[in-house]
């Protein structure tokens, strides 16, 4: 897909709109799967596009625009995690980790989740739900996965295999309990 900004020396804020319309949902969904918090997904998705605007000059078209945005989104989340401990101490109550927040998330998932399989993915440890989502839903290649996660291709393959195994185990367990 070609955008009007492509070929320009620099893009304007208006050029960002079609990109957000196309990829906003993908970015938000990915961030929710990573953070399991709507509030964080809202904030980080907006930050992702602000970052994308700022760094679009460095986008070389080596990866698809969607993959590039997902990498930025992922970096935003990891950056947030690293700095969150500071906020947690200096701004008590900053983290939306209350029972009310948890029940709101549960309610959201009950109403919005499209399948039980996604519920399984959301229960996986971060590194497994991340790779499984990027590969199975966002169709990233092994090379793209390796680049996005900062690991080797063989490490990505191993991690993906483990993620599938863990997800299958969890699926079996939940089915057994049902």
């Amino acid at each position: 897909m070609a955008y009007e900004w492509q070929g320009k020396v620099s893009m304007t804020a208006d050029d960002l709109e079609p990109i957000m319309e196309t990829y906003g949902e993908d970015v938000w969904n990915f961030l929710y799967i990573m953070t399991r918090s709507r509030e964080l997904a809202d904030d980080l998705a907006q930050e992702t596009f602000i970052r994308a605007y700022k760094y679009l000059g460095t986008y070389r078209g080596e990866a698809s625009l969607k993959s590039w945005l997902l990498r930025i989104a992922r970096n935003r989340w990891y950056s947030y995690r690293r700095l969150a401990f500071v906020r947690k101490v200096t701004l008590p109550g900053f983290m939306p980790e209350t029972n009310t927040a948890e029940s709101a998330e549960t309610e959201f998932l009950r109403e919005e989740l499209t399948s039980e399989v996604w519920a399984i993915v959301l229960k996986l440890p971060l590194k497994y739900r991340e790779i499984l989502t990027l590969q199975a839903h966002y169709a990233m290649t092994m090379e793209e996965l390796a680049g996005t996660l900062g690991i080797t291709v063989s490490a990505a393959k191993t991690r993906l295999q483990r993620a599938r195994g863990k997800a299958s185990e969890l699926w079996e367990k939940e089915r057994g309990e049902a």
């Binding site: 960002l16 938000w28 799967i33």
Partner: protein
């Protein structure tokens, strides 16, 4: 659907959520933000012209410094070495770097002899053992043994019969630490931690106990010495052993330990509370004293330090020795620290770097020096968003990624560099950053940590990844390079 049947690619192809949660309102906010940022960027570009002029003026000043005009203002470092006693005589050996470990029992060190009236006359000698510390990270830089000074702490003849001295050698810096221990006890292990912390342990071989357990349980008879510089550990220790600082420590967010039966024997601090000493006994009903210990702390803009020595005891056999050992600790505010031998400081990674450092100051110089140590660093690429993307007290960061092997590049291993141009300022900022508690958050084990170093006017955050499944791989060369910069006296 069974375990074998699940086709994850097929199952996860549909969208996870029914509705689109990235709303038009969010899009408007993004657009407003980038428009506002664009306005600020234009303003900054206009200001950049002024900054270029400022930089030119600074460069002129730097040229004056290099030309020697400012030489008279440069601080001259003091002599680093102390007198070396001759070989096979008390207090070490002239061939200090060949100090033989097997000679531990025959090498002796002299102390002034304390007489019954409290005065001193003559000397007493006690065995001197060597304990080489292990490095938790990095490689040994020197095996040189520090040169021992004349000891000034006085021992009675009776005390001398009960005690031995142990010289702990740091293979990263060549520095040493002298501790006293009961004569028959065995130096077990000394470790230099990733952040420079020091620990040394000695056991009574007849009552080794279980080292994994602290009292109650079976600690056996052992002596533990620790030095820590971590802001959190220092605050926690201060809160634990200085009750009037308990509230302060808890306010910093660090837990204070409570040990039932812990009784302070003495405690004092200077007027501003920046340094203090406490001595304690830990008693258990029916068993009497089960541990005797002492703690010293200091807090200043350069660093926080907490030193502690604790002896776990069974019975009273080593009560007198413990008293002498703890008084030696009190007199030295910890172990007696010994500066590295001159030969060791030359061996440390500063020779070539010092020469280069005289010529240049700045991040590029630091980068070159790291490259000399085999650390290849590249700038951020494509969508590599900075890990620490905010100024540190007004100083902008430059972030570099380790490029160890293009096939195995871990883009999470990075350095964030801040050039403060002043070692005091850098040390102060590093301290502030290090004091922030960092731990797993929300029960999720964080997998990338920043380790903070200061040296030569720089603050460097070293980001390295790991987890309980995959251990941290830590490269300490960065630490060595920064230390060398500190010793080269190049920063204004």
């Amino acid at each position: 659907m069974t375990k074998k049947d699940i086709d994850w690619e097929k199952e996860l192809k549909p969208k996870p959520f029914r509705k689109n949660s990235f709303t038009p309102q969010m899009m408007r906010k993004v657009e407003q933000q980038v428009k506002a940022d664009s306005g600020r960027a234009a303003l900054l570009r206009r200001r950049a012209g002024v900054l270029v002029l400022g930089a030119a003026l600074l460069a002129g000043g730097f040229a004056a410094e290099r030309s020697g005009v400012l030489e008279g203002l440069r601080q001259i470092p003091p002599e680093s070495s102390v007198g070396v006693p001759p070989a096979s005589q008390p207090n070490g050996t002239a061939e200090s770097h060949t100090f033989p470990e097997e000679a531990a029992q025959t090498t002796r060190i002299e102390f002034p002899e304390k007489k019954a009236d409290g005065g001193t006359a003559g000397t007493v000698s006690i065995p001197l053992r060597l304990l080489r510390a292990e490095l938790a990270i990095g490689e040994a830089q020197t095996d040189s043994i520090p040169e021992l000074p004349d000891m000034t702490f006085a021992l009675t003849a009776k005390e001398a019969e009960m005690l031995q001295a142990v010289l702990v050698q740091r293979p990263d810096t060549g520095e040493g630490y002298v501790l006293l221990a009961p004569r028959s006890w065995t130096p077990e292990r000394a470790v230099i931690g990733a952040n420079g912390s020091v620990s040394a342990e000695f056991i009574n071989p007849d009552k080794a106990g279980n080292p994994e357990q602290r009292n109650p349980g079976d600690p056996g008879e052992r002596l533990r010495y620790t030095e820590t510089f971590s802001g959190g550990s220092v605050a926690s220790g201060i809160g634990t052993y200085f009750p009037d600082r308990q509230t302060w420590a808890e306010r910093q967010g660090f837990p204070v330990q409570t040990y039932e039966g812990l009784a302070l024997r003495s405690q004092y601090a200077n007027e501003d509370g920046e340094a203090g000493f406490a001595r304690y006994d830990w008693t258990r009903q029916g068993d009497g004293v089960v541990a005797s210990g002492a703690v010293y702390y200091s807090q200043n803009p350069q660093n926080d330090t907490l030193r502690q020595l604790e002896m776990s005891l069974e019975g009273t056999a080593y009560g007198e020795a413990a008293d002498s050992i703890l008084r030696f600790f009190e007199a030295n505010q910890g172990a007696q620290r010994i500066r590295p031998a001159a030969s060791a400081t030359q061996a440390l990674p500063q020779g070539k770097e010092q020469e280069a450092a005289e010529d240049s100051i700045g991040i590029e110089a630091l980068r070159e020096r790291l490259a000399e140590k085999g650390l290849r660093l590249t700038g951020l690429q494509d969508a590599d968003v900075p890990f620490y993307d905010q100024p540190m007290n007004g100083v902008e960061a430059e972030e570099l990624i380790f490029d160890r092997d293009s096939r195995n590049a871990e883009r999470s291993e990075r350095l964030t560099l801040f050039d403060f141009g002043s070692r005091d300022r850098a040390a102060e900022e590093a301290k502030k950053f290090a004091q922030e508690p960092r731990s797993a958050e929300n029960g999720i084990q964080a997998d990338i940590y920043p380790h903070v170093f200061a040296g030569g006017g720089f603050v460097v955050l070293y980001w390295t990844s790991g987890s309980h499944e995959r251990p941290f791989v830590y490269d300490n060369k960065i630490n060595g390079v920064l230390r060398a910069l500190d010793q080269s006296e190049v920063q204004p």
